[in-house]
Amino acid sequence: MSPKVKIAIGTSTSILLVILSYYLILSNHAVISGLNEGNRLLYAFLSTSIMILLGTLIGITWDFIDKLFSAEGLGSKGK
């Protein structure tokens, strides 16, 4: 498998993970916010984890996108 294909798979997987995470968070935000009234400690842990997870996933996705465009650039130059 060429590095370009590996980067493309990485990019699409990470984009998919970001979309999936956003879907899960937005569709369950009422449940998550409900914890704010019931269990503050769990809510604190969950909300902070969500921000860390999303931040890291988006950061990694941008990294992959950047690599993909660099690889595309190199590929076209090679040709």
């Binding site: 956003y22 968070i25 937005l26 935000h29 009422a30 998550i32 916010s33 704010n36 503050r40 400690l41 809510y43 604190a44 842990f45 969950l46 909300s47 902070t48 969500i50 921000m51 860390i52 999303l54 931040g55 890291t56 988006i58 950061g59 990694i60 941008w62 990294d63 950047d66």
Partner: protein, 324 residues
């Protein structure tokens, strides 16, 4: 939970985008933009502050990862500064309590005056130095840096990423402490204080100062987010929507640092901090003399500063990408 419709979601995306650009370019957390905007929407002040910090945590992770990719993050320096900062923030918070016991008015006035003094000093010094460096093509003034690096209190450490062969650990901890104390007292993240101190006292390259500062913003954001969400001050829906906007803005802001010379970045930084300081002067006049036109002027100037900086950074980023 604050009700969110499609228009509000678009507005939040835009705010996040704006903060992302400034955060990636200057190393600011961006709380000074998000908190008043959320408050203006009708979000209670405590929730506006908590949500803003949670959003800053996500944005700083994205920006730090991107700056790390460009080699702009000094991990060792960031961790030591963060350690000093934590102690400083607690001292700053105690100072707030002290002034609060005297009177709330005394507290508000002293915070505003500290803001004006610190921001004006940074703005004048940085703009002057950057303007001179820009004309002579010299690196930032090394006189102060040399003096700081001459302090030989063991243990001495080296910071290869920042091109520093030997510096006392206590000096870095002390700088972290001072920025933390000012940030804790002024109720801000402290990026606008830390970046100049990293450049002029420690001797970091401008982009490394921005990247390393963002690492510190990440640590303080993590602590602040946990602390505020335990108190029930974080609206996770608002924070995640703004994060989506800032994820795009951050890339533009960080990319722009690649195409801007260090002296130009410092000049823009100094100019931006100067305008924010002027906006606080107007706000203080409005509160002390009860001239409400100055209050409006203060808000208009803040919005104008943010919009002009966002436009400038976006243009720099796209022009640089086109050329390079």
């Amino acid at each position: 939970m604050f009700p969110v419709d499609i228009y509000l979601a678009i507005y939040l995306l835009f705010i996040g985008f704006t903060v992302g650009i400034l955060s990636g370019f200057f190393g600011f957390g961006g709380g000074f933009i998000i908190t008043p905007f959320l408050f203006a929407l009708g979000v209670p002040m405590n929730v506006a502050v908590g949500t803003s910090i949670a959003q800053i945590l996500g944005t700083s992770i994205i920006a730090t990862l991107r700056h790390r990719k460009l080699g702009n993050v000094d991990l060792k320096l960031g961790i030591i500064i963060a350690a000093g900062s934590i102690i400083g923030v607690e001292v700053g918070a105690q100072m707030v309590e002290y002034f609060k016991r005297i009177s709330t008015e005394a507290l508000n006035t002293s915070i505003s005056l500290t803001y004006i003094l610190v921001l004006s000093l940074i703005s004048i010094f940085m703009s002057r130095e950057a303007w001179k460096s820009r004309q002579s093509n010299n690196p930032p003034s090394s006189k102060i840096t040399n003096r700081v690096q001459c302090i030989r209190v063991p243990p001495m450490i080296s910071l290869p990423r920042s091109n520093i062969t030997s510096i006392s650990l206590w000096v870095i901890l002390f700088i972290g402490f001072i920025t933390g104390m000012l940030a804790g007292f002024m109720g801000a993240g402290g990026g606008f204080i830390r970046v100049p101190l990293l450049i002029y006292l420690i001797g970091c390259e401008t982009v490394v100062a921005v990247g390393t500062d963002l690492l510190e913003v990440l640590f303080s954001g993590l602590y602040g987010s946990l602390s505020h969400s335990i108190k029930g001050n974080v609206d996770i829906l608002l924070a995640t929507i703004m994060l989506a906007g800032s994820s795009v803005g951050t890339q533009i802001g960080v990319s722009a640092t690649k195409y801007v010379k260090g002296a130009n970045l410092r000049l823009i930084f100094g100019f931006c901090v100067g305008l924010i300081s002027l906006s606080i002067v107007f706000k203080l006049i409005s509160e002390l003399l009860e001239i409400y036109a100055f209050g409006f002027l203060s808000q208009a100037l803040l919005v104008l500063t943010v919009v002009s900086m966002v436009l400038l950074v976006t243009i720099l980023s796209f022009r640089g990408r086109k050329q390079g």
